[in-house]
């Protein structure tokens, strides 16, 4: 069996037992990428030379008995909005084409300190704006389970690469669901940690009050190992939290006896879920009940305003964060001959994609004079109401169980004509970002078309240990981890 078929934990164990070397495992990933990523398009940049050098260094450490931990020698991919010193970082945008950062972001530095082998940079929606990876300025990304279908977004490349076995784990970012939704579409585990749990320093900012860095792996155990390396306070991110970091892998007991699992009936009724999604939710619920959990109803009266709230807050913050892309300091420029205003407007007009421009203009509108109170300030108040709803819900439940998306993966091209329809499909994932909660997507079923269907568990802020344990229980009970996509 190729090492690319191993889950992160199993690969880590094999490395520890010296059944396989990091060089062998990394080469197997590179071979798989060379053989199959042409049809999928998950990687924007493969750093074969760098990865093999890191793998050799890992093997040398291990030979001396100096392995750094469970991630030492494990091949990992990075969404292309993580700044990597010396490796291009484009956020899948033409406006950052060729940009080489002069430093590593904190999450990248954490993985390097843990000895992980960084295989390359993964495809995504431009500036993390999108739910299908169709907004990448460079190339589309397909779902390894069916190349006619979207891998989800915005971290589509990360989810696809892990599902296809091109790397044992990956990092993504999640602002409105961009880890959890592609994880669901690609049948892997994806975690959005609580806001402030992982440093955002050195991540291309989209919406600073919503963005969060998180892991993908085939299973919850892999996510736990990655989170362990990433979690903690960072001097360079003033929003990162000083809260202690528990042992996440040790928390994966699968024991959910007495765990109160909250279901929100109104959410399901309102949001047009497909039968397959409802069925997956039932199976996840039954799995938890079989292991001793109790189900309670919770009510989140303001949740149906979450998408509207998000598309005001996130676009406002994006319009501010993306103001720095003016052709002066990073990447290519256009219109320089026309003077400074022309440099700014032409560079941004020609090098930003349609979705990015749409969101910047929306954000500009909701912040503009005369409208800021009516839109942005009001949205922040509704955000507070949504967070209060969750506070009350968590007095009755320990974790909440919801769908991740209304349907399994949709076909590429199916939603590109209707931006609003695409936005509405984020209805289940957006609330966790607004309230700062942790959220986990685990695979719970396969549709009639053999597409994965995930379910979401949401936990209280900083309750990742309990959340991961509940996800582990679902995963173990449902027994779907052995299925792999057939790659061309």
């Amino acid at each position: 069996m190729s090492t690319t078929a191993l889950d992160l934990g199993a690969l880590s164990h094999s490395l520890g037992e010296k059944k396989v070397s990091s060089t062998e495992a990394t080469q197997a990933c590179l071979d798989a990428i060379a053989a199959h990523d042409g049809a999928i398009g998950s990687f924007l940049l493969v750093d074969a030379e760098g990865a093999l050098a890191q793998a050799a260094a890992s093997d040398a450490r291990r030979a001396k008995g100096e392995a750094l931990g469970p991630l030492d020698g494990v091949p990992i991919g990075l969404k292309d909005n993580f700044l990597t010193e010396g490796l291009t970082t484009t956020a899948a945008s033409k406006i950052l084409e060729g940009y080489v950062p002069p430093y590593d972001g904190t999450a990248v530095a954490c993985l390097k300190a843990a000895g992980a082998v960084l295989v390359g940079k993964l495809n995504c929606d431009e500036f993390a704006m999108g739910s299908s990876n169709e907004n990448s300025a460079f190339k589309p990304c397909a779902n390894p389970w069916s190349v006619a279908h979207s891998p989800g977004g915005s971290s589509g490349g990360s989810a696809a690469a892990v599902a296809a076995g091109f790397c044992a784990g990956a990092l993504g970012t999640d602002t409105g669901g961009s880890i959890r939704q592609p994880a669901s579409f690609c049948g892997v585990a994806g975690l959005k940690p609580s806001y402030g749990r992982v440093s955002r320093f050195g991540v291309v900012a989209f919406a600073s009050s919503l963005d969060q860095v998180g892991p993908f792996a085939r299973d919850v155990t892999g996510c736990a190992h990655l989170l362990q390396a990433l979690a903690g306070v960072c001097d360079r991110d003033a929003t990162s939290l000083e809260a202690p970091v528990p042992d996440y892998a040790a928390a994966l007991t699968g024991d959910v006896k007495g765990l109160k699992v909250g279901l929100c009936p109104e959410l399901l009724d309102e949001e047009g879920c497909s039968d397959e999604v409802r069925s997956a939710l039932e199976q996840a619920k039954d799995a938890l009940v079989a292991r001793g959990a109790e189900v309670v109803d919770v009510h989140l009266p303001h949740l149906h305003h979450a998408v509207a709230t998000y598309y005001i807050v996130a676009t406002a913050e994006a319009s501010s964060n993306l103001a720095r892309y003016d052709g002066v300091r990073f990447g290519p420029r256009r219109g320089e001959d026309g003077g400074l205003e022309s440099l700014y407007a032409t560079t941004r007009g020609e090098l930003f994609g349609d979705e990015v421009k749409r969101r910047i203009l929306l954000g500009t509108y909701v912040l503009s004079a005369g409208y800021c109170d009516a839109y942005y300030l009001r949205a922040q108040r509704v955000r507070a109401l949504i967070a209060q709803d969750f506070d009350k819900a968590y007095q009755q439940a320990d974790v909440l169980l919801t769908p991740v998306a209304p349907t399994p993966a949709f076909k590429l091209g199916e939603k590109t004509d209707d931006p609003l329809a695409m936005y509405l499909s984020d209805v289940f994932t957006i609330p966790a970002n607004l309230a700062g909660l942790c959220g986990l997507s685990v695979n719970a079923a396969f549709s009639d078309q053999a597409l994965p269907v995930g379910v979401q568990l949401m936990g209280r802020p900083l309750d990742e240990a309990q959340l991961l344990s509940a996800g582990f229980a679902v995963e173990q009970e449902l027994g779907l981890l052995d299925r792999r996509p057939a790659l061309d």
Partner: protein
């Protein structure tokens, strides 16, 4: 909410984005639909509710005002399209 081309042009100027004719045709309806959707928040009772800026409760950690490891000058500007060893070139700003 309805936008016309003049509204879009104004937003383009504020955002420093030069819009094509195709975008000026398309965007009024597109943005109009999205803004009409988000306007549902006008009907929410927010009396007495403080705005939520971010999930950390609005508290930001401070650190001592000390220089940390700086980013090397050349490395920081090397990716500029206007890079020269002396710094970045830009169009003339002051006459």
């Amino acid at each position: 909410m309805q936008f016309d081309k003049a509204d879009i042009d104004k937003l383009g100027r504020l955002a420093r984005i030069k819009l094509s004719d195709e975008e000026r045709e398309r965007l009024p309806a597109e943005l109009g639909r999205i803004v009409s959707y988000v306007e549902q928040l006008q009907n929410v009772d927010v009396d007495g509710v403080e705005p939520m800026v971010h999930a950390g409760g609005g508290q930001l950690r401070l650190r001592a005002d000390e220089v940390l490891e700086p980013v090397a000058g050349q490395a920081a500007v090397r990716s500029s399209a206007g890079y020269t060893p002396e710094g970045m070139t830009v169009p003339k700003v002051v006459d």
